[in-house]
């Protein structure tokens, strides 16, 4: 038996349909972000930096780019003999095949896996949030409060609170009420979908929930409210810092743009909390004699002859002479032809914007029909 105090289970099976062409052939956690990363890199790097060395990744929807990205877990130091990363897809048994049906069900279907790891605590993570967090501190809080489950929470503007699971807490952080997407929120403290459970208690509940035909098998809708009702100790752990659920094209675009502010609180340049990702063996970026670059985040392998303003250029993007790119995100391998003009455009990976094309108006435009999420 592998014995780790806390293991992480990372839910990475969702589609994220509101990201449109970005996720039509690619799972949301594998969507490119910030020039160099994919969304899941943030949760994985948080695990690595929190020294969690045992991470189960639950996949279901279009997992190819995701699983090729994770590979053997090397970038996150998870290429281990003991523990390390384990990809957990839906599978068949003698009773036939069973797709994951709800977040809690996905964990239930992997009871056997968790039992083998034999942890005291299970950290449930979602693979589609952008943030940096030391889960060790949250575990310390969880232990100190003798909680059955601790939910990481963040203060949101009250007018946005109805989009979230809202936690109503007492002064000491204990939760007395849990409202999933309330129409009239009483509080501005939102669940980040990051939970630490005592494994024994969660295990019981997963089995109970599985046998309940009325359940949606969802943590937010069923497990957490059920535990509260049962009188379990639920605590909110207050997180302050950058956190975004990049669930829509607008929020995805905005969160990318945030990175252009050198004072942004996510701070990718912090050497004490690196965001790790798979490396591609491409040369440094080349900015030519004819280029003009103002406020830009540019990744390795790019070749820039044109004009860039307020934009993100991912791996191996080429911008030809005379092109003008503003407020845009160019995904890996995109090619922008001569004199093309782009404003507020997301160019999907390996797409070719032909010479002279003019794209973009007020709305954010996605150029390209589908992103397979592959880089090279």
């Amino acid at each position: 038996m592998i014995k780790d105090k806390m293991i992480a289970m990372l839910l990475a099976g969702g589609q994220g349909a509101r990201l449109k062409q970005l996720t039509e052939k690619n799972a949301k956690p594998a969507v490119h972000f910030g020039g160099k990363y994919r969304i899941i890199d943030f949760a994985l790097s948080n695990c690595a930096n929190s020294r969690i060395t045992n991470v189960g990744i639950l996949t279901q929807y279009q997992p190819l780019a995701l699983s090729m990205h994770i590979g053997i877990g090397g970038p996150w130091d998870l290429n281990r003999h003991k523990g390390g990363v384990e990809i957990l897809p839906p599978h068949m048994t003698t009773e036939g095949g069973q797709w994951y049906d709800g977040t809690a069900n996905a964990i239930y279907e992997n009871l056997n896996y968790i039992d083998i790891q034999d942890p005291e605590y299970v950290l449930i993570l979602s693979g589609d949030h952008i943030y940096k967090m030391d889960y060790r501190k949250m575990l310390e809080f969880h232990i100190e409060k003798e909680a059955a489950v601790t939910i990481s929470a963040i203060t949101v503007p009250l007018y946005e609170a109805s989009r979230f699971g809202i936690l109503n807490t007492r002064e000491d952080g204990s939760i007395y009420e849990f409202e999933e997407k309330p129409k009239e929120p009483k509080n501005d403290l939102a669940s980040m979908g990051v939970y630490i459970f005592d494994w024994k208690i969660l295990r019981e509940w997963l089995i109970k929930d599985h046998d309940n035909p009325d359940s949606f098998h969802d943590f937010g809708k069923n497990i957490l409210p059920g535990m509260l009702e049962e009188g379990r100790r639920l605590y909110a752990y207050n997180y302050a810092g950058y956190w975004r659920d990049v669930g829509t094209v607008e929020s995805y675009w905005q969160s990318n743009m945030d990175l252009l502010d050198p004072e942004n609180t996510l701070n990718l340049f912090d050497e004490d909390w690196r965001i790790y990702t798979k490396n591609y063996d491409v040369p440094p970026q080349y900015l030519s004699e004819t280029c003009h670059v103002e406020r830009a985040l540019i990744n390795e392998g790019c070749i820039v002859h044109g004009n860039i303003k307020n934009s993100i250029l991912s791996t191996s993007v080429v911008v030809e002479e005379g092109a003008y790119v503003e407020d845009s995100i160019l995904l890996p391998g995109a090619h922008i032809g001569k004199n093309a003009v782009l404003k507020r455009v997301i160019v999907l990976s390996h797409e070719d914007v032909e010479e002279g094309t003019k794209l973009g108006d007020g709305e954010i435009t996605i150029f390209g029909s589908v992103d397979h999420g592959l880089i090279l």
């Binding site: 040369p283 080349y286 540019i298």
Partner: protein, 372 residues
């Protein structure tokens, strides 16, 4: 399916003319082209040519080398069969500080056991993206004992940078390797790369060790070329020798030529190196970057022209860098001006300082030096 060749990279290079850069590191790990070390080009060329077994004969300064090599993982050479092997000198022997020939002695058994028929001997300080597969095909088709790889030079009389390097001489069928003294306009430059039958390699090394008059491995081979079936093959790829600071500086700035960069970085496969996990580079308002190669992790507010900027370099407001090579982690503060310079790792150039070298002799700032 694969060619049965093992690579042998001999790090016993002369470092006399590039002392500044090799004080703390062997030539092999001198930083190059924004994110690489010199040896990456040789290692990647070998790996991309399907050579799965590479030995590195080291001399000294192991730390820098071991950090970089990481057991071969960046080149997919951390293998069960074959892969990367570092050949250390046996420092218990009195021979430890002798030549590379002696350092090879305790490793002869290893070469004997190796299941290959040919050895590709090279050095780490020739920069190129080389297709060894094609070169080997010629060696194999001719059933040569030794194939000497060379590079054609057409303007030898004006190429001061090639003085003193190997030059190929022929006398009928016989092949000699001499020194280039600048008297010839067109010649074949010796680039210290040889395909050699393993059997012949071992024969030569044993003979030279027995005779005891020599200490240089390449010398031992060069002096015996007339005793074997030797052919020569002139490479098409660009190959730049780096023995001096001047060669280093010129080779660095040549990467800014697009066609050269394309060949060097992509032609026969990608160049692999140790990864560093830096984010993309951030160009802030007011930055002006022209004709430069910039690695990841940089934050740039000032002006950069005709320069190579390595990872995690900060360039302050109104700072100006021109015609320079700036290594990893350097910090160029506001209003500083740098022209024709090579700045080693983590150098710090304070507000408003002005450093001005010359294209013929770049200004050098040492590792970690602080100019306040």
């Amino acid at each position: 399916m694969k060619m049965k060749v093992a690579g042998l990279i001999n790090l016993g290079e002369r470092e006399t003319y590039i002392k500044e850069l090799t004080q703390f590191r062997p030539l092999a790990t001198v930083p190059f082209a924004g994110r690489y070390c010199l040896i990456d080009f040789m290692l990647s060329s070998m790996v991309n040519s399907d050579i799965e077994n590479v030995s590195i004969l080291v001399k000294d300064k192991f730390h820098s080398l071991n950090d970089h090599l990481s057991f071969g993982k960046w080149w997919d050479l951390d293998r069960k069969t074959g892969g990367l092997r570092v050949l250390y000198p046996d420092i218990k022997e009195e021979t430890a500080f002798e030549g590379d020939l002696q350092r090879l002695r305790s490793n002869l058994l290893y070469f004997e056991k190796m299941k290959v028929d040919h050895i590709l001997m090279t050095r780490s300080n020739y920069v190129g993206n080389i297709d060894f597969k094609s070169a080997f095909a010629i060696h194999a088709q001719n059933d040569a004992d030794i194939t000497v790889l060379t590079k054609n030079v057409k303007n030898g009389k004006t190429r001061v940078d090639l003085l003193g390097l190997d030059i190929l001489m022929k006398d009928g069928e016989k092949v000699y390797i001499g020194r280039n003294l600048g008297n010839q306009q067109e010649f074949e430059l010796g680039i210290e790369m040889y395909f050699i039958k393993k059997r012949i390699f071992l024969e030569i090394v044993r003979e030279a060790l027995e005779e005891g008059r020599e200490s240089s491995l390449s010398g031992a081979i060069k002096r015996r070329l007339q005793s074997y079936k030797v052919i020569t093959h002139s490479l098409e790829e660009e190959v730049l020798p780096i023995y001096s600071m001047q060669q280093y500086y010129n080779a660095s700035l040549r990467i800014l030529e697009t066609e050269h960069a394309k060949e060097l970085f992509y032609k026969n496969g990608n160049i692999f190196t140790k990864t560093k996990d830096a984010p993309s580079s951030l160009y802030m308002s007011g930055s002006q970057v022209k004709n430069s190669l910039v690695a990841n992790g940089c934050v740039i507010q000032g002006t950069v022209e005709n320069s190579i900027i390595f990872r995690n370099v900060h360039v302050g407001k109104n700072a100006v860098i021109r015609n320079s090579v700036v290594f990893q982690g350097a910090n160029i503060c506001d209003d500083a001006q740098i022209n024709f310079a090579v700045l080693d790792k983590r150098s710090f150039i304070g507000n408003g300082r002005v450093l001005m070298g010359d294209g013929g002799l770049p200004y050098f700032v040492g590792k970690g030096a602080r100019i306040l």
